[in-house]
Symmetry: none
Subunit: 418 residues, 2 copies
């Protein structure tokens, strides 16, 4: 079955935003085993939109459009699709009710008239509720082909795709696709690839594909079978083989579990409480941890000690340490972690201090130099890193490496106790 | 003049990478005043590539392709373009020499045979040297149209575009385009759209287009003229008109300035230091502020008080306040901000406390209820919000609204002083 994507929005043609929706949807379609040969981007123009949909329908079975479903005059995707599919627009009472509820719950009293445009749906189309916004998704079926309309904002589109569109597309398929993501931290991309070269060489069903993420490597195992049970049976031995090869470097085999989530789980199982003490990442590590619902069971507080004064006042880092070794040093990182655990009464404290740039580097301490330390049961482990790239990239790597350090310290302390 | 983009690579169709090249090239073309109505993505398949180039040439003056110029068998962009343009491939001695030099300088002694494929160029094409890799760029001209081939890796493509392709395209253009982004915070998308409906209705040159961001609305003004000065002259009255309509809700007219950046600038100008006191956003606000290089001049520390105990211990929130009103209350938000400024000795403290969900809500205090307070010169302003959507969305909106609150408090205190 062939699928193709049309991303809608003049902001894409102007380069105002990066098309992350296309990457997400492509990955999901690949997971579903759908073939994709074309993607296109069209601006907010009804005529060109209709033409693009027409062309896509001529060569593909499923056409997925994202963007252009909002309340403004520029939002014309639905109008264009309705014309091409010959399904005139009509108000959907259920959607109108949901929109009214959405605004009511948001505490917005005056709903401007243009918002009701979002309740207009092509007659005969399947309405897909939007749990995170006002524009519903739509599935328009005709002559054995489907046109799927999704809202543009990723935080509305992705949950909608996962909840409603993925199962819809899987049902259209003759064979069931199942996959599993084996997530690895603490090993480099090329090392992992070398270690699985033989498995990739002889892959048939299931297949194995590596994906490099910042500071992590994910391996996707995908199997095709007549039903889910059979597909899962094909996946199992491959997971076992990878566990044999990578052991504790595998932090999860759950598609949705993040590294932060897995670390919080380890802490919770051991009934350990956590504090973060950040300098150059300025709260990013705490934010990453609190992305996870229920983090409060483990994570009690975070200290962002951006200035030297704050490091002294909030974390009792010695004045002489800052003077003699500098804020970016092994010694400061150690004191931050050790004192962070002590002053807050936490079992564990992880600290990060470094030079994120673009300024502030020197020959001795260049941009990208980052120290991190983990204090657990009064034992402090410290690491030195030299990251490359932009401020954003250095901060992002620091967060992932800090979580990796935290994880390895917890696992190591298990070994010590047993 | 019309331009269109073709991004080449099966990795894009599989969602393995995000198409940042398209965003970069689109932005550059918009800057050049070129009209772009289409973008497409094609895999590494010669036939489909040739078809895509053919279609693009039928409707555009310039076709820019990126990717597929490397040494492997999968790299077929040049082959497809050469066929469509009827310019047979021939070895270019200059390029062969550059490739040999590149490998020599990289310390690589054995150059595999397939690398010399990169020295093959379409006869009559303009060769564009690659300063950061081995595959040269190419400009193929025929019948008043141009096909431009660029390497896929961004670190090779972008410098090549800036150095050679931008000037080439600028010479082809009769008119210059200029644009300006007016950034608004604290007003809803539909409200803003209603307020500028008349301007959009009668727009010609310059044009006006709204873009909704989380908690913000951006308005792009774009003008075409014979030169930059004339174009800027056309933009000026529109900016003035928008300032008249939206006043202080406009936080920037600088393309690259973020809300966090503009708030830090306001604080810096007034020599005010800032502390953050976060609960439900768990460090996101501090992280957003420290995204900005040089934030340390203003932002000294952040306290992530996730537990009640941390609120008491680090921020001196009264036990009775937490008991009688709860952690998510106006009173707690106020104490967090007021005490946060006091205990850290900062001029300003902004606090956030709320229920980000998915659990933890009640009928009285539902998920999405967020209080935030700003303490400035001992005056505390508090706001109550009811956000909708996922945990992620509630946290993201909280951060943007907190920055907006911070901004309005700073501006208000200016008024008081004068």
């Amino acid at each position: 079955m062939e699928v193709e994507l049309i991303s809608v929005g003049t902001e894409l043609l102007l380069g105002n935003i990066v098309n992350t929706n296309a990457a997400y949807l492509s990955e999901q379609c690949a997971l579903l085993g759908l073939s994709m040969f074309h993607q296109s981007v069209v601006g907010d123009n009804e005529e060109r939109l209709a033409e693009a949909i027409q062309t896509a329908l001529g060569r593909s079975d499923v056409v997925i459009l994202s963007g252009g479903l909002g309340p403004t005059k520029d939002d014309l995707t639905k109008e264009a699709a309705a014309k091409v599919m010959e399904m005139p627009l009509k108000e959907d009472k259920h959607t109108r009710k949901l929109i009214a509820e959405y605004f009511k719950n948001s505490g917005i009293k005056t709903v401007t008239e243009n918002n009701w445009k979002q309740a207009q749906v092509p007659e005969g189309g399947i309405v897909v509720d939007n749990d995170n916004g006002t524009a519903p998704g739509l599935i328009l079926e005709k002559d054995g082909k489907s046109v799927i309309l999704l809202p543009g904002p990723p935080n509305e589109m992705q949950p909608m795709f996962a909840k409603s569109i993925f199962p819809y597309l899987n049902k259209l398929q003759p064979e069931m696709i199942c996959s599993c993501m084996v997530k690895i931290c603490g090993l480099g991309e090329s090392y992992v690839e070398t270690q699985i070269a033989d498995l990739i060489e002889k892959q048939t069903n299931p297949t194995l594909a590596p994906y490099a993420k910042t500071g992590e490597v994910h391996l996707r195992i995908t199997a095709k079978a007549s039903d889910e049970k059979e597909a899962k049976k094909l996946i199992k031995p491959m997971v076992r083989e990878l566990r044999k090869r990578f052991g504790d470097y595998i932090y999860s085999t759950d598609e949705h579990e993040t590294l932060a989530e897995s670390v919080l789980k380890l802490l919770k199982e051991r009934e350990l409480t956590l504090t973060t003490a950040e300098s150059c990442t300025g709260g990013m590590l705490a934010a990453r941890l609190t992305d996870v619902p229920g983090a409060s069971e483990v994570f009690k507080q975070g200290l962002v000690t951006y200035s030297n004064k704050a490091k002294r006042k909030l974390l009792d880092v010695k004045k002489t340490t800052l003077k003699d070794y500098g804020a970016v040093s092994e010694k400061t990182a150690k004191e931050m972690a050790k004192n962070g655990a002590f002053v807050t009464g936490s079992d564990v404290c992880i600290s990060i201090t470094g030079i994120a740039g673009p300024d502030g580097g020197s020959e001795e301490k260049p941009v990208g130099l980052v120290y991190m330390a983990c204090s657990l049961n009064n034992k402090v482990t410290v690491k030195e890193y030299h990251f490359q790239g932009s401020r954003e990239k250095i901060r992002e790597y620091s967060v992932v490496r800090a979580l990796t350090l935290l994880r390895s310290c917890i696992l190591e302390s298990d070994g010590k106790e047993s």
